[in-house]
């Protein structure tokens, strides 16, 4: 029974990772940039949702949409100001900029509103506990799992079936050649950031509802974990992010359940390293040898 409860715990934790990882993996897949600021966009989404609910007194859906829209705009602004000028620079320069942007978002938020946490109002989404044979499942965690699944399918559809998705993939392989196809590279990359950031924003609101507590540095660890999840599944591969997130959640729950909760994050990183060594392309990625 305890084991099943731990699995349930793990899946709900994992759905959150998956939710953040979806946006992460998409941006990485297209722009090949480890967007360290992704976790902070997630945090901003969470706060936008919070202020929408507490100050504008709107319900869940408008708050979610507002958070997604603001994050989409924020994502596009970040890309235009901080990443676009560096398109042709060394990867590592962009990585440093991403770290800079991440710190900037965190500390501007702290400067504006302080570092103290906020608590999401508990009335936003109904929370009922379903008990099945002694295993408690919260209705919210089912909701989160469902949301992640729907978004995964939607994202997969966008990237692989729509025109903008094809443009995104073309840009990711060779931006100059993409321009010769008539693709507007700047707009495509903006769209990528907008979608990825909107997903982060949605994840932020949902995280707030599920875990109640939000604070300006909340994005760091989930951001990192989501990245681990994305790598686990095969970075750039959308269903991979989903599976990677769930898997990571379940593993962490089992480790904690066995009484090694302090090693939980350590185990996550050990798995990451093992995966990278033995299956560098992730569980779902194809190992493509470099053609010489």
């Amino acid at each position: 029974m305890e084991l099943i409860q731990q699995l349930v715990n793990g899946i709900s934790l994992g759905s959150i990772y998956a939710l953040i990882a979806l946006g992460y993996t998409m941006v990485y897949g297209i722009v090949r940039l480890i967007n360290f600021a992704h976790g902070d966009v997630f945090m901003i989404g969470s706060f936008v949702g919070f202020y929408a609910v507490t100050m504008l007194h709107v319900g869940f859906v408008p708050a979610l949409l507002l958070a997604m829209a603001s994050c989409a705009v924020l994502g596009m602004i970040i890309e235009r100001i901080a990443y676009k000028p560096l398109r042709n620079a060394a990867r590592i320069a962009v990585l440093i900029t991403a770290i800079g942007v991440s710190l900037l978002i965190e500390y501007v938020t702290i400067y504006l509103r302080g570092a103290q946490p906020e608590a999401y109002p508990s009335t936003l989404l109904p929370d009922r506990n379903l008990e099945l044979f002694g295993v408690v499942i919260s209705s919210q965690s089912l909701f989160i799992l469902g949301t992640s699944l729907v978004l995964m399918v939607l994202l997969q559809f966008i990237v692989h079936r729509t025109k903008i998705g094809k443009a995104m993939r073309a840009v990711s392989h060779d931006a100059e050649a993409a321009r010769l196809m008539g693709i507007n590279v700047d707009n495509t990359i903006s769209a990528t950031f907008a979608i990825g950031s909107a997903l982060a924003g949605a994840a932020g609101v949902i995280f707030g509802i599920y875990y109640t507590k939000i604070e300006p540095l909340m994005g760091i660890l989930p951001g990192l974990k989501a990245f681990v999840a994305a790598v686990l599944g095969g970075i750039g591969i959308i269903p991979g992010a989903m599976v990677g997130g769930l898997l990571l959640g379940v593993i962490e729950s089992l480790v904690s359940g066995l009484g090694y909760s302090l090693w939980r994050d350590g185990v996550a990183f050990v798995i990451l390293i093992l995966i990278l060594i033995f299956r560098p392309a992730g569980l779902f990625g194809k190992n493509v040898r470099e053609k010489v």
Binding site: E2, Q6, Y107, I110, A119, S122, Y211, T212, L217, S261
Partner: protein
């Protein structure tokens, strides 16, 4: 290094400290960014409010000037900060840091340079006493860990009449570990049994796995000495998982945020030991709460109160010392007796710890209710 020592001797001898003219400079070496930024910021708010009040009249005709440095929640930066405050800003005393470790990083510098340091919230015993010897220049405003743990254990055994307890510790915090250690000692000595002992790290958000394994050990009581940010979530998640036993913690719980985080219902049947209660009708406390509300537009938490008290604790000593000389301030601090502050009545003991009474509060429908008062 010998170089550093030689040098520092001359520096503290050469100047009176705290600057001349009509201001006395006081340093604040706080966690304004980094992992525990919220503690440092809360303390800073409390200190700033107190300084504002104190400066309306001034001390011995002088005003207090606060020089803040940010130690980024890192020990090395705390050392850097203390060095800068002492040698560049020439402060008369330093307030901070919020955590025991960051305070410990400054102890040697304080002693070497003969400048007093007061930590508002570093509760670890080792801050003021090392190897049985008192750190001459280090003081604190909070009570020490063992006291709260002992009080909680006795309360659980005698008032709640439980025998099987689980303990869940914030392993990143000396405070939490210290409380847990003294709780376990007193609880088992009184015939109780610890059936589960688990840990988490500050900033975690998901405790369901750990709580699930605690639940399966069937405890009658959960001792949860942590800070409100995690405690709020733990209590909420524990209740969700059907762990409905009484839960108890320390002053780290005390924040209006706790009620928002955990929810009123989940908090029923929980208890804390505390310095003071913001709902306490004592006029001293209500005055503070009102002033704080007016300035910051929110209710004060424990760190706000401790920061505020630290400032008054220091101001009182300066007044009695009649000088901004750090060594004289140190002597005055050590002689503090029956000082009425928000978090209790202060008397500094021979180990530089304040002797304060503790109270036990119960949460009922989101309200703290006074249970008992325990004297040291």
């Amino acid at each position: 290094g010998c170089g550093g020592n030689q040098q520092s001797g001359s520096s503290s001898g050469g100047n009176g400290g705290g600057g001349g003219g009509d201001v006395i400079k006081i340093g604040a070496n706080l966690e304004l960014s980094g992992g525990v930024a919220s503690y440092g910021q809360s303390i800073a708010e409390g200190v700033e409010l107190a300084f504002e009040e104190i400066n309306k009249e001034g001390i011995n005709g002088k005003k207090l000037e606060l020089v803040k440095v940010d130690n980024k929640s890192e020990a090395a930066e705390a050392t850097n900060g203390a060095i800068k405050l002492i040698s560049q800003d020439k402060v008369a005393a330093i307030i901070g840091s919020a955590t025991s470790t960051n305070t410990l990083a400054q102890v040697q510098i304080a002693n070497d340079n003969k400048v007093p340091i007061i930590t508002p919230s570093g509760t670890s015993e080792t801050v003021t006493v090392k190897d049985g010897k008192v750190n001459e220049f280090v003081f604190r405003t909070c009570f020490i860990d063992p006291f709260q743990g002992t009080v909680a254990a006795k309360f659980a055994l005698n008032d709640l009449k439980v025998k099987k307890a689980a303990v869940l510790i914030d392993s990143a915090s000396d405070y939490s570990k210290g409380l847990a250690a003294s709780f376990k000692e007193t609880f088992t000595a009184g015939g109780g049994q610890i059936v589960a002992e688990e840990a988490y790290v500050a900033k975690d958000t998901d405790f369901r796995a750990t709580l699930t394994s605690i639940k399966s050990a069937n405890p009658e009581f959960l001792f949860l000495p942590g800070y409100y940010e995690e405690v709020g979530l733990i209590v909420k998640q524990a209740r969700e998982l059907g762990l409905n036993v009484p839960i108890m913690g320390g002053d780290g719980w005390d924040s209006p945020k706790l009620i928002e985080l955990a929810g009123k219902d989940a908090l029923n049947n929980t208890y804390i030991t505390n310095h003071y209660s913001s709902g306490d009708p004592d006029p001293k406390i209500q005055e503070f709460v009102k002033a704080f509300q007016a300035k910051y537009n929110k209710a004060p938490d424990a760190f706000n109160a401790l920061g505020y008290d630290t400032a008054y604790f220091l101001a009182d000593a300066i007044k009695r010392a009649g000088s901004a000389d750090p060594v004289k301030i140190k002597d005055a601090l050590a002689q503090t007796k029956d000082l009425q502050l928000v978090t209790g009545t202060f008397t500094v003991d021979q180990n530089h710890n304040p002797v304060k009474s503790a109270i036990i509060l119960e949460y009922k429908d989101g309200q703290q209710q006074f249970k008992t008062k325990v004297n040291p």
